[in-house]
């Protein structure tokens, strides 16, 4: 145990050293990560769209912003209208936005109307058994956003949302669409 007590602080210090970038934070800098699975999810009843969302139809063809949200999540209520404004700005250039509701069976019927109240027009789908959420958002953070570029690669993941991020997110989406 004495040895472990020495190892853990050392490991954490090393972890912090590896994690910290050398310079100032670079929030808009893109990372290249994995690929999302070609999931299919049903539209939320009473939501802005009625057809299922098929990720396979968009992978490798156009940029997609995947938003994990829930009716009980207050920051999500601020994130969805902002992405709606970006969707209106860039939809002609191919941007797709899909909001995946993490609501359980207790609140799932409220997901569609909630999105309508937020004046959202992009796809709003449900994932009651959380199977897609488990794959793409294993920490089950809400809100949680994933950007997928035209090549089908995940280039950005972000937990949380605040209106203070709007400039950085808008700049990032512009780069994603133009990429």
């Amino acid at each position: 145990m004495r040895r472990l007590r020495l190892v853990i602080p050392a490991a954490l210090a090393l972890a912090a050293a590896l994690a910290l970038p050398a310079g100032a934070p670079a929030p808009a800098e893109a990372r290249v990560g994995g690929r999302p699975p070609p999931f299919v999810l049903p539209a939320a009843a009473g939501g802005p769209t009625s057809a299922p969302f098929r990720m396979g139809d968009h992978l490798g063809q156009r940029p997609v912003a995947i938003l994990f949200w829930a009716t009980w999540c207050q920051p999500c209520q601020q994130e969805l209208p902002f992405y709606e404004s970006l969707y209106q700005r860039y939809r002609e250039q191919g941007l797709r936005v899909v909001a995946i509701s993490m609501d359980s069976q207790a609140t799932i019927m409220r997901a569609g109307p909630n999105a309508r109240r937020l004046n959202v027009t992009f796809d709003v789908v449900t994932d009651v058994d959380t199977r897609v959420t488990t794959q793409l958002n294993p920490r089950r953070a809400a809100p949680f956003s994933i950007w997928v570029d035209r090549a089908g690669r995940i280039v950005r993941e972000q937990e949380g949302f605040s209106p203070a991020e709007q400039n950085a997110v808008a700049q990032g989406i512009a780069e994603l669409v133009g990429r």
Partner: protein
């Protein structure tokens, strides 16, 4: 079997140090990854690797519970979620590591036996792979081996999903086949229940029961414009003959099993998408053996909803009839991890304690109005139903619940120099006796009442944003042990762009009088035993990778979700969390 004894052992401990170092360094390296981690796998094709690492270093002070051996200890908790994704194949794994007593203080249990010999000294290190899944998704098929989430219907019959609030993450470990065609769907599942149940004190995963689950579902979908889906489902759960949380105490019952069969109908897009209907009916049979006597009983679970969606107005009506219906070892199961059904409660999804969740009848109506395209909206909600904690008696011989609440909201409108949003909620809830409880409490008397409110205002300008939240509830329990209590809190959060977030919070509760009194004796609780201040700072290095520090206190008490409750101890100390992604 003595599992705690089995976990101890010098060889595993000798391996812990290098393994831990390697794991943490690997996790940290995720934050700096800039390259594409794709590669060609023979026979599989282009494959990409992804990793989410969560490292938590924590110091926990006084819990204010009866056990002094789980106070004042430091711990390291490490979780990796890793995945390999190809076109049709995906492999996933979660690795959890917990190391207590190692960072800041020596264990108080040194020289004392662990586990069953002395249950108060239960903290021990733990390393285990979890959530192992191999998934093959050719076209409309999904074939899985390992852990998967699974909900049948609206969860009335079966719900294997994460319950975030209670830190229970249910999965079914076994074999799974699903077909998701346009007009036909089916699924077949079999395996062991694998509820990843996190202990709120030591973050260790509580030992899972070996409950066997076998089930399936099938549905046909009528093509548009009708769009009606008709489905059937059936399952059997065989419960392990243990009752206690550590698997040591055996149940007085044996051969416990629950069989459920049901059907559902859904029409989500009637009247040009303006009307959505859902109906589900389930029958349940519970069998068990007490000594040599076999017992059997039945129950039912019915849920229906109708939602009218006009341009600005939404009306949702829900109805439930759950009679002696709970997919669990007992009709009045107390362990959240072993309740495998999650029937919609139709009530406000708040902190109130729901009782008799398997024996309820009633409904709710919700009306939302949005002043579109403007930012304002409001909703009016009302639920009225009865429950009975005695599962074999009619709900309307028990307690009547009436709960009404309203919400006024303004969404963010982006584009200007200053933008703001508001969410204001308030309501009242009453429980009224429908039977003569005793000479003092008669039918028609109020059993419990609660008033609650919440205000959330967010103001943003450029790279700066402030979020103010205040919530409070006042509850009175006429018959119970705690006569009257108040729970609430206030917080302010400042955010600068993506990188920086600072939250100051003050929670208050007098729900647990014994805890309040003992907390009041502490010198550093200068605000008093009922108040819990805290501070949280988060720094985001790049999107998805951040470091956060929480320092302060949070109240314990009862957390409830969908009628399933869990007691959580008071926390005081600090927690450093690092999240990295690759």
């Amino acid at each position: 079997m003595d599992l705690r004894r089995e976990r101890r052992g010098a060889p595993r401990r000798r391996l812990a140090a290098p393994a831990l170092l390697a794991l943490v360094v690997l996790g940290a390296s995720a934050a700096r990854a800039q390259s594409d981690l794709s590669f060609e796998l023979p026979g599989v094709g282009r494959t990409t690797f992804s990793l989410t690492s969560t490292t938590t270093l924590r110091y926990r002070g006084e819990n204010y519970d009866a056990n002094r051996f789980d106070d004042d200890f430091g711990s390291l908790y490490q979780r990796f979620d890793v995945a390999l994704q190809a076109d049709e194949l995906r492999a996933e794994a979660r690795i959890d590591l917990f190391v207590p007593h190692t960072v800041l203080v020596e264990s108080r249990c040194v020289g004392r036996p662990l586990g069953v010999d002395d249950p108060s000294c239960y903290l021990d290190w733990d390393l285990r792979p979890e959530r192992l899944t191999l998934r093959w998704e050719p076209s409309e098929w999904v074939v899985e081996a390992g852990d998967t989430q699974l909900v049948l219907g609206r969860g009335v019959a079966l719900a294997f999903r994460k319950v975030d609030l209670l830190a229970v993450d249910n999965a079914l470990r076994g074999g799974h086949v699903r077909y998701q065609g346009s007009n036909f769907r089916f699924g077949a599942h079999g395996g062991l229940a694998n509820p990843q149940n996190i202990d709120p004190i030591d973050l260790r995963i509580v030992r899972e029961p070996q409950d066997v689950v076998v089930g399936g579902n099938m549905a046909v979908v009528a093509p548009a414009p009708l769009g009606v889906t008709l489905g059937v489902h059936a399952l059997r759960v065989g419960f392990e003959d243990v009752d206690s949380i550590d698997g040591v105490t055996r149940s007085r019952f044996t051969d416990r099993a629950v069989d459920v069969a049901g059907w559902s109908a859904e029409a989500a897009g009637l009247a040009d998408g303006q009307l959505a209907l859902y109906f589900e009916a389930n029958g349940l049979r519970r069998t068990q053996r007490l000594v040599d006597q076999a017992r059997s009983e039945t129950g039912r679970g019915v849920y229906a909803s109708a939602q009218l969606q006009l341009t600005e107005l939404t009306i949702l009506v829900e109805w439930k009839d759950y009679t002696n219906f709970l997919v669990a070892p007992e009709t009045t199961e107390a362990n959240a991890r072993r309740i495998y059904s999650a029937a919609p409660p139709v009530e406000y999804d708040g902190p109130q304690r729901l009782r008799g969740i398997g024996n309820q009848r009633g409904g709710a109506i919700r009306m939302d109005y949005a002043f579109l395209p403007g930012p304002w909206s409001f909703s009016v909600n009302s639920a009225l139903y009865a429950f009975n904690e005695e599962p074999h008696r009619d709900p309307f011989e028990g307690v009547l619940v009436s709960h009404s609440w309203m919400t006024l909201a303004k969404r963010q409108e982006y584009g200007g120099d200053l933008n703001w949003s508001l969410d204001l909620q308030g309501g009242a809830r009453f429980e009224t006796l429908l039977h003569d409880h005793d000479a003092r409490f008669r039918s028609g008397d109020i059993d419990r009442w609660m008033i609650h409110g919440r205000l959330d205002i967010t103001v943003g300008s450029g790279d700066h944003a402030f979020d103010f939240i205040v919530d409070h509830r006042h509850e009175r329990e006429i018959r119970g042990d705690v006569a009257e209590f108040q729970i609430g809190g206030a917080s302010v959060t400042y955010t600068f762009g993506i990188p920086f977030t600072l939250t100051l919070s003050l929670r208050w509760t007098d729900y647990q009088p014994g805890v309040v009194v003992s907390r009041g004796r502490r010198e550093y609780n200068f605000l008093g035993g009922e108040f819990y201040p805290s501070l949280e700072v988060r720094w985001t290095f790049e999107p998805g990778t951040y470091l956060s520090l929480f320092a302060g206190q949070t109240p314990g008490g009862q957390l409830c979700s969908g009628g399933v409750c869990r007691d959580v101890p008071t926390f005081e100390g600090f927690q450093l969390t690092f999240v990295g992604r690759l």
